[in-house]
């Protein structure tokens, strides 16, 4: 087999953009104002990457303080009030300023147009506007935190948030509201772009799974976020005008809030994890040199997760006082969502089977994602079981479960994606050895941090407490020690990726010999992505095993 065939290009060779090279999107317009007024989706992705990284480390500092406080049973580092504000800050920042926008806004913005062979997203100005909304929302949340903080938890449960909390709830709510508009605009842009801007020959079932995943995520963003926005407005109204919507003392109903809140916030979990699945589905076939197993089922599973994800919100309310029958229905539906999730895990595994696997840094991250997502998913079944959930509700078991999905899943995949597409984005290679070490350190640190929390929760340690009985200390100390390792692991990529920007080897257009359209243009890509509009003539993931 010749190397040209081996390259497995899905572009018609006749139209490959080898001649007439345009300067890269990074060349020209170096001033700050050129970046702040850009309409190029790639530059906007870079803007998002920088701001999201900032918020990630800010949320990480709050997490570190929480783990430090919990190293001893006494509440001796911070006061109970400060502790409440810390976990609220951690939750708000990590959920709305990091997890929800991370993969769609950074990787999605950069890659969606490239992957569908388009010159840009359908609405470039709207794309820039969504970044400004993100920054505005982030600024409002930061102001709320600096002005004294919020102590409600990121869920803003009523009537505490609407009536009793003395903290800056309305400011935080406004920040989240603005962030919601940013998500809606990004989702709208992706949906329209996938529908209208696909290259010639790129039918729906030739789309990369990353595009499918972001498309499904966008549907959730567009359809669920407005519900959250309006719910937060109602909390603000109750708080400002003392009207009973959610407060039972005033004739309202707190269950109403929980229904509305979780109608968004459960699908929000899939906003965080579906794009992560998309990233894994790009990396695993590339480094196993095998076409993804059961491509169509992978796409259908993505859509199924997006749809069923809308129907399971009530499993957050098993102990809230909703009716027993509602609980039974929501329990059943929650089990159902495990089916498409399991399809994805099985298909990744089947893709690896008999593959010629290269354990490069992105692959280690992707495999870490699959492992952690599987543990998180399986423990989700515990929580979907009505009776078991009564025992585990509001314990560290729940904390461990959602951290396995959201941190072990989303963050691992986000880092994997950053490593996979780093040569494309920056035009530089990083040290693969350092990448592998960091992936392993993060994986080890993560498990040491969160696995003890399953045991803690099972033994009855409630969440949101800043002091606890002495018998829980061993597991808490293990968890805090893991957090230190995790922090080191998260700091490492900052170092070697920054180093690569200046000293890394120049990347070729396709260093991983991957088959996606984004690899058919220069690294970094020119301003309008493709010199000539690509024409797709092959199925996706046309990988072949490497020769000897």
């Amino acid at each position: 087999m010749t190397s040209a065939q081996n390259d497995a290009s899905i572009v018609d060779e006749g139209t490959a953009p080898h001649e007439r090279r345009e300067p890269s999107y990074l060349a020209g317009g170096y001033r700050l104002i050129d970046w702040l007024t850009t309409r190029d989706h790639k530059r906007i992705a870079v803007l998002y990457a920088i701001s999201i990284t900032f918020f990630f480390f800010l949320g990480g500092v709050a997490a570190a303080l929480i783990r430090l406080e919990l190293a001893t049973p006494q509440g001796d580092l911070v006061s109970d009030d400060t502790y409440n504000k810390l976990f609220t800050a951690h939750g708000i920042i990590m959920v709305w300023l990091f997890l929800i926008p991370s993969i769609p806004a950074v990787l999605g913005n950069f890659l969606m147009p490239l992957m569908i062979g388009a010159r840009d997203l359908a609405f470039p100005r709207l794309n820039l506007a969504s970044w400004y909304l993100y920054m505005a929302g982030g600024a409002i949340v930061l102001w709320a935190l600096l002005a004294g903080g919020v102590d409600t938890g990121w869920t803003f449960y009523t009537p505490f948030s609407s009536m009793f909390s003395n903290s800056h709830v309305v400011a935080a709510l406004s920040g989240v509201l603005v962030l919601g508009f940013s998500s809606i605009l990004t989702g709208l842009n992706f949906i329209v772009s996938v529908h209208t801007l696909r290259a010639r020959g790129l039918s729906w079932f030739r789309l990369p799974l990353f595009v499918w995943a972001n498309y499904a995520t966008s549907l959730i963003l567009v359809l669920a976020t407005p519900v959250l926005a309006m719910t937060l407005v109602l909390v603000a109204i109750e708080r400002l005008f003392q009207v009973g919507i959610f407060d039972p003392a005033l004739g309202g109903d707190p269950l109403l809030f929980q229904h509305l809140f979780w109608f968004y916030s459960h699908p929000a979990v899939y906003i965080m994890v579906l794009p992560a699945m998309g990233v894994a589905s790009e990396i695993i076939p590339c480094f196993a040199r095998r076409p993804v197993f059961g491509y169509r089922f992978m796409a259908y599973a993505i859509l199924a997760i997006a749809v069923i994800g809308f129907l399971v919100w009530g499993h957050h309310m098993f102990v809230s006082g909703q009716s027993m029958y509602a609980g039974m229905v929501f329990s059943l539906l929650s089990f159902l969502v495990a089916i498409p999730s399991a399809i994805k895990v099985f298909n990744w595994t089947a893709t690896l089977y008999k593959g010629s696997i290269r354990f490069s840094a992105p692959m280690l991250y992707a495999l870490g994602f699959v492992g952690l997502f599987t543990i998180g998913g399986l423990t989700g079944l515990f929580l979907a079981s009505l009776a078991l959930d009564v025992h585990l509700s509001d314990t560290y078991f729940v904390v461990a479960h959602f951290h396995y999905i959201m941190v072990g899943g989303s963050v691992m995949a986000y880092l994997g994606g950053i490593h996979f597409w780093w040569p494309k984005v920056t035009g530089r290679m990083y040290s693969d050895t350092w990448g592998k070490i960091a992936a392993l350190v993060i994986f080890a640190g993560f498990n040491l941090t969160f696995f003890p929390q399953y045991l803690l929760g099972y033994a009855g340690m409630p969440r949101r407490y800043h002091s606890y009985p002495g018998e829980f200390q061993l597991l808490h100390v293990l968890s805090s020690a893991g957090a230190v390792i995790l922090a080191v692991g998260y700091l490492m990529p900052l170092g070697y990726l920054a180093w690569s920007l200046r000293y890394g080897a120049r990347a070729t257009p396709n260093p991983w010999r991957a088959t996606g359209l984004e690899w058919q243009t220069d690294s970094p890509p020119p301003e309008h992505n493709f010199a000539i509009a690509p024409v797709v003539v092959r199925e996706p993931y046309a990988y072949t095993p490497e020769g000897p």
């Binding site: 147009p113 519900v227 309006m230 109204i237 919507i245 309202g252």
Partner: protein
């Protein structure tokens, strides 16, 4: 001809037009869910306090609500004609019809404002001053108060949307005089029309829920 400027990411005007109107539809789907919590809250109230909901809806002014429905439907008709005129490239006629649409929108807002004023005077605005004339039982009063909270929230959100719609009409009237690239293409009128009809449709749902509930046989 007043073809819009072709943005670099599009290959043809047809593709650009499709993307824009499709984008508007997706946006409207999102907007519809904005009203979702209010409608869900209404459903919840209706299930848990049917009697209070019925009593509360009798406090609304059915005459003004019905007149407003007629005004809004007429404005939608004018908007549809404006879109038709723009399609036929008669930008002057489209401008006039847009003016008429905007004017009817303002009439709607004025009537709505008068209605709010009335309800405020009757102490029907939720909060410490809330005091319906015909109920003393605390549970019923709470139900009525929640109804009026949803009423004010939904009609205010609707009025906000309508204000944006009126602004869009006025903006189009001002810029339609200039041909592209300074002014917009004719498809802009259609997009504004889609939005206007959406706001109208929301009202078509709000009107029976807020005004007509439990009025049969009354």
């Amino acid at each position: 001809m007043s073809a819009p400027v072709l943005e670099p990411q599009f290959a043809s005007h047809a593709q650009q037009d499709f993307a824009r109107s499709f984008g508007m539809w997706v946006f409207l789907a999102s907007e519809l869910l904005f009203f979702g919590p209010l409608l869900f809250g209404y459903l919840y109230l209706r299930m848990h306090a049917p009697h209070a909901t019925g009593m509360a809806s009798r406090h609304t002014d059915m005459l003004l609500g019905t007149v407003n429905t007629a005004v809004l439907l007429t404005s939608s008709f004018c908007m549809a004609l404006a879109g038709h005129a723009a399609q036929g490239n008669d930008r002057r006629r489209a401008t006039r019809l847009l003016a008429l649409t905007a004017a009817l929108g303002v009439v709607f807002l004025a009537i709505k404002g008068f209605e709010w004023h009335q309800e405020f005077d009757e102490h029907l605005f939720p909060g410490v001053g809330f005091h319906p004339a015909d109920a003393t039982d605390p549970a019923t009063v709470h139900g009525i108060e929640l109804f009026f909270l949803l009423y004010f929230a939904a009609t205010a959100l609707h009025a906000l949307h309508l204000t944006i719609g009126v602004s869009a009409c006025v903006w189009l009237m001002l810029v339609l005089r200039h041909p592209p690239p300074r002014g917009p293409g004719n498809e802009a009128v259609e997009l504004a029309g889609l939005y206007w009809h959406f706001v109208d449709v929301v009202w078509i749902f709000l009107y029976p829920l807020l005004y007509l509930t439990a009025r049969s046989g009354g």
